[in-house]
């Protein structure tokens, strides 16, 4: 067999690999454009601010928007302080050892658990064992556990990226560890930490399976944290799956996609701030 010159194999391989990359980007673009073309015409002020009628066949999605932000917002409010504190401890207060290994192992395992298992757990633990029922707060607590590992990991990376010289300078001026952390490290790491928080908010908004089993699917407006609610993603699922209204389904999906796009752009912008600051 004649040997193929290395330059030719390289050309073939690189062409294939670039084709893979372009196919993936094309799929992403196709999904976003397809949903927006079908759904944007259905978005109006009324759609965003009115309650749904006849199971969502007519009317708007206002209660779902409120419900989504209540569940996802509360989840982030719970998970962010815990996650950031964990990251501070792992980076500033301890050496690499058994303890950090165990904590990281726990976080990594949490990150791998599928959302349906979180849903099952939230259902038996928060909704039944703790008596919270299918409610905003059950959903939020379940999601908080789910996004915790992401927040820990991103916060850790952001804190580690702060150059050691800043810490040494702070100590040199006589500050305690806590002063150094709160006045020097955290302000510098803030954009990076926020990136993780924003991406986690996006993940909470997109989540469906876990929320379905813990927050329920009530169509009415949630008035308190103990009310059941239906998030946008679940509403979209029910609309399309039960064939209630394709137009409303596309419009709801567009709202979701626009939200996720906005959050990702914001996270990207924050990340750019970090790279600029750290040089």
């Amino acid at each position: 067999m004649k040997r193929i010159p290395p330059a030719v194999t390289q050309a073939i391989a690189v062409t294939c690999l670039w084709a893979f990359t372009l196919v993936t980007l094309a799929i992403l673009l196709f999904i976003i454009v397809y949903i927006l073309i079908q759904g944007l015409p259905g978005i109006s002020w009324e759609f965003l601010t009115q309650a749904p009628e006849s199971m969502g066949r007519r009317g708007g999605i206002f209660p779902m928007i409120v419900g989504t932000f209540m569940v996802a917002g509360l989840a982030v409010l719970i998970a962010a302080p815990i996650g950031i504190a964990t990251a501070i401890y792992l980076t500033e207060y301890t050496r690499e050892g058994k303890f950090t290994f165990i904590v990281r192992f726990g976080a990594d395992c949490l990150a791998g658990i599928p959302s349906i298992i979180y849903g099952l757990f939230g259902f038996v633990f928060f909704a039944i064992a703790l008596g919270m029922g299918l409610s905003v707060v059950s959903g939020a607590l379940t999601l908080a556990l789910m996004i915790l590992p992401t927040i820990v990991r991103t916060a850790e990376e952001a804190i580690r990226a702060v150059p050691a010289a800043y810490r040494e300078a702070s100590y040199g001026l006589g500050s305690t560890r806590w002063q150094m952390v709160t006045r020097v490290v955290l302000p510098l790491a803030l954009p990076g930490i926020c990136t993780g928080v924003v991406l986690s908010l996006g993940r909470s908004i997109s989540e469906t399976a876990a929320v379905m089993l813990t927050a329920g699917s009530a169509l009415r407006m949630p008035h308190s944290l103990s009310d059941s609610t239906r998030t946008l993603a679940l509403h979209f699922y029910i609309l399309s799956r039960e064939g209630l209204s394709m137009d409303k389904a596309y419009a709801t999906a567009s709202v979701l996609i626009l939200l996720i796009l906005a959050l990702n752009l914001f996270a990207y912008w924050l990340m750019r701030q970090v790279t600029r600051r750290m040089g």
Binding site: T21, L28, I102, I117, R241, I260
Partner: protein, 286 residues
């Protein structure tokens, strides 16, 4: 100084919350599901395909096969595309362009899984039904949709693994006159092997655990699939489909399905993590 010690103790306690969460989850899922597995008997639970909750038959074999089938299919597609992208972005792409493509892949990870499922239903399923036959809702449709969904996981972890290979390896190979592709597949891929294995296994975990998108495109039939064009039900979709109305023993059986899924994913993750750690050690040159 005393305040500093107090803060340290407090932070340490908070740092344990992730671990505590993991433990409570494990305990509650197993407590709800394990008794039924033993009551049914390991053989009748894992190796029977009779799932008739009304009659007290809880065999999950068809779902285990279903989950394995779509996961394998997803990895063939997502693993190839994802690894390909990671190679392009680290070896052949101008860094400026790569720094634009990477957030785009993260966006792919941000799109809700229901949207993927929906897109599968409106575009992919009709194509499969019209051109390949069968009901369209099938192993194939689920594999393709899942393959796209696991792409970001596979890509980003593979990128980290490839970046962890010391620059001097690459320089040495190129200095010996190897082309960049030879360097990539003979050296970089081998040096980053354990990280790439970790990426693939974690991707498998994602595919295995995905629920909503699979429910929408897999067809959910309670049969062992005979071909890739047959509909299947996975472990995850079984839980999500029936949890809404299940009670008593039926609900326990769904938790038992969850126990199975949980155990398999934990094994996957532990393997993946040990591979990932190996990469880090190699990267540090130890």
């Amino acid at each position: 100084m005393r305040k500093d010690k107090l803060v340290a103790a407090l932070l340490q306690a908070i740092a344990l919350s992730a671990l505590a969460g993991l433990m409570i989850i494990t305990v509650f899922i197993f407590k709800e599901g394990l008794p039924l597995i033993f009551r049914t008997g390991l053989k009748d639970f894992f190796f029977s395909a009779d799932w008739e909750p009304g009659k007290g038959n809880f065999g999950i074999m068809s779902m285990i096969i279903g989950s394995l089938a779509v996961t394998l299919g997803a990895m063939l597609i997502g693993g190839t595309l994802g690894l390909g992208m990671a190679i392009v972005l680290t070896q052949f792409c101008p860094p400026k362009l790569a720094s634009l493509i990477k957030p785009t892949i993260e966006l792919l990870a941000g799109i809700p899984s229901v949207v993927y499922g929906f897109m599968g239903v409106v575009t992919l399923v009709p194509i499969i039904r019209n051109y390949l036959g069968g009901p369209g809702l099938s192993v194939l449709a689920a594999s393709i949709v899942l393959g796209i969904m696991v792409l970001p996981t596979v890509t980003s972890i593979s990128i980290d693994a490839l970046k962890a290979v010391p620059r001097s390896y690459w320089e040495g190979s190129v200095a010996l006159g190897a082309t960049r592709w030879q360097t990539t597949h003979m050296l970089m891929l081998k040096a980053a092997r354990s990280g790439i294995v970790a990426a693939i296994i974690l991707g498998m975990g994602r595919a295995l655990g995905e629920t909503m998108a699979v429910i929408m495109v897999a067809g959910n039939a309670l049969e062992v699939p005979g071909s890739v064009l047959d509909p299947v039900r996975t472990l995850t979709s079984n839980i999500a489909l029936e949890m809404g109305y299940a009670s008593g023993e039926h609900r326990e059986a769904l938790f038992a399905t969850g126990v199975t899924l949980f155990a398999v994913i934990m094994i996957f993750n532990t393997i993946a993590l040990s591979f990932a750690r190996r990469t880090i050690r190699q990267g540090r040159g130890q």
